[in-house]
Symmetry: D2
Subunit: 90 residues, 4 copies
């Protein structure tokens, strides 16, 4: 189980918006937009992606806690911590 | 002047690939992919975006140096450093 | 309860090493070390700090799961996720 | 030449403060401070280190531009961009 079923629509909406932002970046490159303005937009997209990631982590951890008695949480927490590590370093 | 004219096609190609990755994320959510796998993919997209950003910064700084005698570089460097700051913090 | 009692010595040892690295940075500045080499060392210290942070988070989340039945985990997870957010953005 | 001679005292003062913050972290661990509060402090130290890094980069890039005619700036910019990359990823 994914653990984020309840907000599926929310994630989809955010990712569609991010897809639009990436297309916006392509347009900026096509139209020779000033490099610093492109960078500002790249930072905005990165932040939006990180918000999605933090949301997924939130639900994953809650899922681990809610299913603490099923004996699988140890492995799931290890996976979560590795994912946090990748995010912090990316 | 943008300062990255020569690699315009390269940036466009990368951004199209990133757009495809974001659509891939939407599919993962639709298909209830295991949350940790979604997070791995989010980290990959973030890294790809940061590579684009570092490439743009590279060219911007070279542009500042190449046009050092035009007296505009001071302001352009300040903008670049602020962009670096936003990237480091995003 | 902190939730990281068992590795207390390990954290202390790491932080002492980080303190030594920060003193090393001061020496580098004093001795006019080439700026890029200072930056490489700053990145090393940042990574060492983030490892400490990820270790603390790991134990905090495990603590939440281990004490899932005490009804306090909801608040503790919210705090953990906010801490992750600050780390990802710092 | 380092390129940051003029602010040497400022960097030293900041690094001494960071050293104090790292010692503060050791005390927090010794005194069994709540893990989330330790994490908040780790984020503060990381941010302080990144400010030092951004300051060094600022001066390095200005130094490259100021010495643009000496033919060494190409290599120095490449080094700077690699340093930015390490920072963005750390």
């Amino acid at each position: 189980m994914r653990g984020y079923t309840m907000k599926k629509d929310d994630y989809s909406a955010r990712l569609r918006r991010i897809e639009g932002q990436v297309r916006g970046l392509q347009r900026m490159i096509d139209e020779d937009t000033y490099c610093i303005d492109v960078l500002t937009q790249v930072s905005a997209v990165t932040k939006a992606l990180q918000s999605v990631a933090v949301g997924l982590l939130d639900e994953h951890v809650r899922h681990c806690v809610a299913n603490a008695d099923e004996g699988k949480s140890d492995e799931m927490i290890t996976e979560a911590v590795r994912a946090i590590e990748r995010l912090v370093r990316s």
